[in-house]
Symmetry: C2
Subunit: 391 residues, 2 copies
């Protein structure tokens, strides 16, 4: 039922087919975030129509509300949210620790430092004790509990529980935490094996922060464990350059026969850098989140400010009378029928349709980007493509 076949190689990148009981994902590919069992503003039928092959949901959010037992009783997460394709959940750790460290994802990824808040109460060898953002209830998330939740959700791919160390902690903490995450990884794997019967697979996580020697230890650990796939997690440094370095270093230590996911990273620049280190899948809330604020992804040549950002800000008054589509030549349903002027007007008028139209475009954009990348690997013209997309 599960398999990962690599079919083409070019400049460190690879094409593959990731088979699951819910269909096959062509890799490299992008995983869209249906955080709370829904894409914010598009039905799953529309997502599929826009070329989406792979979706993820967040264990933490679904555990807190409506709960794994509830979703299991509804026939599982696939059925509940009407996504019949390959589906992954994270372990819940990322949200607990990122909320616990008093910040959102950016902090974990190294972008800022804030004091802790009180939703994460305690991390012990047993697991993480936290309070629900939803109703203040106390929860204890252990590796066994995380895997039980993901098992009940019925996803294709579960991810082991780890502590996602933030950027501001020191090497000593990062190392201690990494070893604990390894012990949690083994517990997660064992728990999952006892629960499933081959119809769900587990991704291990590589931690180690920004430290090359720790990344090596973490890579060697997951290489030896019986994980189906591998996910690069934890702090990736404070700059894009450091992130690409750490990803490159980590990938150099990893075995080559397993699918590798890069957790929470998925801007077009990062994707081109990532695939050249052999990354197979990416996920990021970026394409869906910016859509809600008027951000529409475009190729560099259609971007007046490609050095600053990868998208147009359609709230900007320069688009008020711009009757052209978001991206000339784009075949998405938004670009075929709607102008920047109309979307700008809708944004200003606070009409909910604005973000839906942009979201349609951004989803199609990401899926087109990944399809182009796969063809670029097969035709060995990645550099040319990179120039077209990134400038």
């Amino acid at each position: 039922m599960f398999a990962f076949k690599q079919t083409h190689f070019h400049e460190g990148a690879r094409c593959g087919l990731l088979q699951t009981p819910h269909g096959t994902v062509e890799t490299p590919n992008f995983i869209f975030c249906a955080t709370k069992a829904a894409i914010k503003g598009l039905t799953m039928e529309t997502m599929k129509g826009l070329g989406t092959q792979f979706v993820l949901s967040n264990t933490y959010h679904l555990h807190v509300n409506p709960g794994a037992d509830f979703i299991q009783a509804r026939g599982g997460l696939h059925k509940f949210m009407n996504w019949n394709g390959p589906l992954l959940t994270d372990s819940g750790g990322f949200q607990i620790f990122s909320l616990g460290h008093g910040s959102v994802a950016e902090e974990i990824k190294g972008k800022r430092q804030q004091k802790r808040n009180t939703t994460l109460l305690k991390i012990t060898e047993e697991g993480a004790k936290f309070r629900s953002y939803y109703n203040g209830q106390y929860h204890m998330l252990t590796p066994e509990k995380s895997m039980e939740i993901q098992h009940k959700l019925g996803v294709d791919f579960a991810v082991v529980l780890d502590e996602c160390t933030p950027y501001h902690v020191d090497k000593r903490y990062t190392e201690r935490s990494m070893y604990r995450s390894h012990r949690w990884g083994v517990r997660s794997l064992n728990a999952y094996k006892a629960l499933t019967h081959g119809n769900q697979k587990v991704y291990g996580i590589i931690q180690g922060g920004v430290y090359e020697d720790l990344r090596r230890i973490a890579a060697e650990f997951v290489n030896e464990q019986d994980f189906f796939g591998l996910a690069v997690g934890g702090s990736l440094g404070g700059t894009k350059a450091q992130m690409h370095d750490i990803v490159g270093t980590t990938m150099s230590y990893l075995r080559k026969d397993r699918p590798v996911h890069l957790l929470g990273i998925g801007g077009p620049h990062d994707i081109f850098a990532g695939i050249k280190h052999g990354i197979d899948t990416f996920d990021c809330v970026h394409p869906t989140r910016i859509a809600r604020h008027g951000g529409a992804l475009v190729k560099a040549k259609y971007n007046p400010n490609p050095q600053k950002r990868d998208h147009l800000n359609l709230m900007n008054s320069q688009y008020k009378e711009d009757d052209t589509p978001i991206m000339p030549g784009c075949a998405c349903p938004t670009c075929v029928s709607y102008s920047k002027s109309y979307i700008h007007y809708l944004l200003k008028a606070r009409e909910v349709l604005a973000s839906q139209l942009i979201l349609q475009h951004n989803v199609y954009f990401m899926n087109s980007l990944m399809q182009d990348i796969r063809q670029g690997i097969q035709k060995k013209n990645l550099d040319e493509l990179e120039k077209e997309w990134l400038g």
Copy 2:
């Protein structure tokens, strides 16, 4: 280019074909409100896919923002919002007077009385002076101005400017206002004839409030004027029974060869009552508005409380574990793939997808209702159908 052909008759109701340069509407039919040049949560492609034939927008809202000149420069309202079918705008009067009388539509329709606010500053023979809700700017809406705006929007059907008298004013005021609306009607018609060249048509409005003699005078007035279509407007009383009475009275005085629209009314019960008096089209924000608050329209037999309301309130906890669709047997994309339980969860989690899913259903529901009614007239089994839909 424009024509109205009546094809079938049964129990006072009639089927017809309303031809426009943007396609033909099968009547009786329902007109959906794209108030500010957008359906709140669905693209026009989706609306069309759900069987929608006719859309309206509001002159008042579009005049205030972004303005008729702006939309004309974008190629007109059809192109701006990507609706290629028949399109009507109201005159702007309803919003000005309903906002001016310190309330929303319900007040005009007779449901409550509140003191005036200050957006409507003055009504004179010339027109209505008001302040924009959008930015506080002063505007003067005259019959000529209203028709100029609607002409620039490029709609198929414009409606004459009238004063929409609320329920709480007395007969003397209603009568005086009616005669002024007649003078405005003539001015509207003349202004429009000077602007258009047969590619846009005008609906006259029948006012007269709850007074039978005034309704008769108003009907005889519009009968004699060169309107393409007729619209029943103004206060229709304080109860459903009174509304149905007034509509019946008014219709009895109207000539039979023109399409007749019932302004702002469109609940399933009102539609069945209306078609039996010969009404051809209805509009109402009800199906779209209730969707945003968890209201899903259902046939009576699927409604636990059909006496109280025409829809389920999916926020209600009784739907928490209800794995069935909104309406069994419904072929809409929501009912085919999503459960009440999922939509209830989305509503509670404040996921925007909830209202989109309900809206898809409500639009399909209204279009199915109207299609059934047309078939019921043709097959002469309206009573049977009414029982099925209303119980």
